[in-house]
């Protein structure tokens, strides 16, 4: 594994371009576009204010930079660096901004979710979508970019509108039987839309593309419900993580639960492999000690190496008891992700914050548990192969694949606490982001 040097970054705004050639990153109000393989600066753009959000257009030709405080979105072109575009929402304010799938329209959500404005870069037309729902995932595009589903709320009732992205025509508009819609997500095949309710109510509804209700699933009543969901890449399974620390898998044929995955604090099954991160004592290479100690060696003294040990089952995991009288407790399955080949599901139970659970979907059983020394910040699957990268807020990046797992120390001077990572679309490299910096890690083909 090779690591690039550290570059400055603000707001964890670092994105690979969809075609995999460029990497955009933000430093305060500047947007830096680099080449992925050499990390040379290709373009440098300056925006009017501190950038809060950047997004590449689908054809990798444009980047939008949204500045919520000023209510401005600026769009830059890679082909023509002197092309500029500025969208000012003015007093309407701006809380969210995103591209349409064709890369030529920008959807701005104004403050208080008053409306969604669809600005076109090709024509002078502007469209408005009224009464958008103020929820986490209110807009969802199908994978092929043809349709867009928008969650709306009128008269204390939830609705979903399906638009055709090519001409923004309203295709379907239907109400949903939710108390307070929390999120919507298309299945990867673009034919089913999952709509789920607030965590006070465990309810998930599945609608077909033409607006028919296919199925409703409720696991239980009264206790806190759905925390996160994930579709499998083949659209065969829908994984629902809930506050009762379980993941329920629905199948696409009957939309009924086929299995439940539990996340207990003690793992007793002997067939599960548990990797525990342990600290290796720093190798005291006394022969190489030199005075005054160089910066590199100094940092390596203080950063402890770690490796994975296989723990013998039964294993008791470190868990925390969440505060009982606060909202949004740190309990339940908060992170879910399917691997790209549909074979594995990685989950994190928020009250066992140091562990990642990897489930074998072919056997519907727990496969591996990775127990780290600190809380998991984020994990992401390699887009090409069943390889999981995760970070826990220290300067190490951890990789797991069915062949084994490895803990890699990023050889950086000073503090580099990785809180987020993102894979390149080819699976050959990934960006490691910390609060102030980022670096790119290049993986060799034979790695892990």
């Amino acid at each position: 594994m090779n690591f690039s040097e550290l570059f400055k970054l603000t707001g964890l705004l670092s994105r690979f371009s969809p075609n995999g050639k460029c990497l955009a990153s933000c430093v305060q109000y500047r947007l830096v576009v680099r080449d992925v393989s050499t990390l040379q600066v290709l373009q440098l753009y300056t925006c009017l204010d501190q950038i809060q959000h950047i997004e590449w257009s689908s054809d990798s030709l444009f980047i939008l930079c949204a500045m919520y405080k000023r209510g401005i979105v600026q769009v830059w072109s890679l082909e023509q660096p002197d092309w500029h575009c500025k969208i000012d929402e003015g007093s309407a304010g701006l809380v969210a901004s995103c591209w349409s799938p064709d890369g030529r329209h920008i959807l701005n959500t104004t403050e208080f979710h008053l409306r969604i404005t669809v600005w076109s870069l090709c024509t002078k037309s502007v469209s408005y979508i009224k009464y958008p729902k103020a929820c986490q995932q209110g807009i969802a595009f199908t994978k092929d970019g043809r349709y867009m589903a928008v969650a709306e709320r009128r008269d204390c009732k939830d609705f979903v509108s399906i638009f055709v992205c090519s001409d923004w025509q309203l295709l379907r508009h239907f109400d949903t039987e939710t108390q307070d819609l929390f999120g919507i997500e298309w299945a990867p095949n673009g034919c089913v839309l999952a709509v789920w309710d607030t965590c006070l109510e465990y309810k998930i509804l599945l609608y077909s593309l033409d607006g028919r209700l296919l199925s409703t699933y409720r696991a239980y009543e009264w206790s806190l419900g759905i925390k996160s969901i994930a579709w499998s890449p083949s659209s065969q399974f829908l994984a629902i993580g809930s506050y009762d620390e379980k993941v329920r898998i629905l199948n696409h044929v009957t939309w009924k639960k086929i299995t439940e995955f539990e996340h207990p604090t003690t793992i007793a099954n002997t067939k599960t492999i548990v990797y525990k991160e342990v600290e290796k004592s720093p190798s005291a290479e006394t022969e190489r000690l030199s005075l005054p100690p160089s910066r590199a060696s100094a940092s390596s003294w203080f950063s402890t190496q770690s490796k994975y040990d296989i723990s013998q089952v039964p294993v008791s995991l470190h868990h925390i008891k969440p505060v009982a009288d606060r909202a949004n407790p740190k309990i339940g399955v908060g992170m879910l992700a399917f691997s790209a080949d549909n074979c594995f599901l990685a989950t994190k139970n928020d009250n066992i914050p140091n562990a990642v659970w990897i489930w074998d979907i072919q056997k519907l059983k727990l496969f591996v548990v990775l127990e780290q020394l600190s809380a998991i910040q984020s994990f992401q699957w390699d887009p090409r192969q069943p390889r999981l990268a995760l970070c826990t807020g220290n300067s190490k990046v951890y990789l797991w694949s069915p062949a084994g797992c490895v803990s890699v120390q990023v050889p950086m001077e000073g503090d580099f606490q990785i809180v987020s990572l993102s894979w390149h679309s080819s699976g050959d490299s990934m960006a490691l982001l910390s609060k102030d910096n980022f670096c790119v890690c290049y993986l060799e083909r034979e790695e892990v």
């Binding site: 689908s58 054809d59 444009f62 769009v75 072109s77 002197d82 092309w83 500029h84 575009c85 500025k86 969208i87 000012d88 929402e89 003015g90 007093s91 309407a92 064709d102 890369g103 030529r104 208080f112 979710h113 008053l114 409306r115 600005w119 870069l121 090709c122 024509t123 002078k124 037309s125 502007v126 043809r146 349709y147 008269d155 204390c156 055709v164 090519s166 001409d167 923004w168 025509q169 295709l171 108390q179 307070d180 095949n189 673009g190 034919c191 006070l200 077909s208 593309l209 033409d210 009264w222």
Partner: protein
Amino acid sequence: PVCVAMGDWKTVTVPVLPSDGKNIFQYTSERRISSPGMNSQVLRLPLPSSKSMHTFFSAFCTEENIEQSLSYLDRELTTLGFPSIFAEPRGRELNLISVINCMNELLVLQHKNLRAQEEVEMQHLKLGSDMDHLQNCYAKLKEQLELSKREIVGLQERDRQLQTKNRNLHQLLKNEKDEVQKLQNIISSRATQYNHDMKRKEREYNKLKERLHQLVMNKKDKKIAMEVLNYVGRADGKRGAWRTDKTEARNEEEMYKVLLSDFEQRQKQLLVENAELKKVLQQMKKEIISLLPPQKQKPKERSEDGPVLSDLEEDIGELNKENMWELSCETVREQLTNSIRKQWRMLKNHVEKLDNQVSRVHSGALNDKDVISREDHELETEKLELEIQQCKEMIKTQQQLLQQQLMSPCDDDTTLLLQDCYLLEEKERLQEEWRLFREQKKNFEKERRSFTEAAIRLGLERKAFEEDRGAWLKQQFLSMSTDYKHSESVTTPSAFLGSKYWFKLCPDQDNRLAKSASRQRKPHCLSSPLSAESWQQTPQSITNNSAASTPPARDSKPNQWEESEGEETE
């Protein structure tokens, strides 16, 4: 002298004093006691000592009152049924004979009484001990009863406690359940309340939003605008189109196309899966049919269901043949699954039967010879494993020794010596055996030569004999031979002769072989090609000679020996 009152013999109780020879006696009796033997009261009459006897006797009758005592005695005796002691009724002369008789009678009576008394005392003792024993038993049983009663009371107490505990727990459970129900009710009521409040707040919020929206729209803020250098072409290069009904329809069409293609894809997948599964089922069915014992089940089934089943089976047969199973119509599917189920049931029954058989064989006697019981099998396997282990260990040790030998570092001379010393013994033995071998070989050669000579001789002699025989026959024939019996007896002498000749050879052979120091095993029957039955007595075997080769592993050789001999006997 103690004056005893005559006539009225009342009870006299005399205080007991330590018996030191004085005339003390303890006598309690009543006048009514007359029959000897049955005494309801303790009658103890210690026989007084001789001394006291005298005093006793002198106490009753003295010289003065002889007549009185006599008359008294007479009265007593007559009342007791004895004859009078006087000669005459009121005379004074004693009938001595009757007195003696009376005395004798009295003695006999006394003896009888004593015996009776002894018996009674014995019985009394027995009864006393029985009584003691019974009393002990009674006491023990009473104790036991007490204990059991106490135990019962204790257990009852515990039972009662447990029951109360159980009741308490049930009550607690009920309470908890009630509480849970109550809490649920509370939750639901609170939820509705919150929902209601939420709705209210949301309406207010919506109103605010509307107001704000109006304000924002009304302001017609010039700021809400997009500034762009130049408009960009569409991603797909086409021009923008107006939104019309046609486009609407087209969009609808597109959507349905997408859905349909998805359905079609899924259906294709399902068809493929179905076909595969059907294939698998067919295969399974065939295999199950092949596993089952052939025809036993079918006639039974046939008889049950009669013609209907055969029709179905025929149909299925047809279908199978023509691969009509690719049709997915309802009936075909049902038939397939039904037939699979039937076959599977039959297979299950078969397996269960086999299981029962096996378990019966297990528990009962081993009737089948080729069915080895599990224990035997396990014992065998254990034995074999042990053997394997031992062999392995042996191999290991041998290897080690070999290794040692090869690896032992020492200078050339010592190694040579050492090597030699290990093999010296072997060499000597080898030489010895070679010697033996050569000897035996020589002997063997000699014997062979003698055999050949003997054979030649035999041949010659036979020839001569034949000639003699021919001559003799001619003689016989010429001299009117009508006696056929002779002709029979002619053939047999040759056999005997032959054997005689062979027998003659053997003793020589014996001697020669006895000289060699070859290892001689138990007597062995020689299988001679000529006449096997007559050789039972020969003690030697020619195979002895072949044993001269030196065996490297001496231990195994005897076995070989035994075996080879054994083989040859059969």
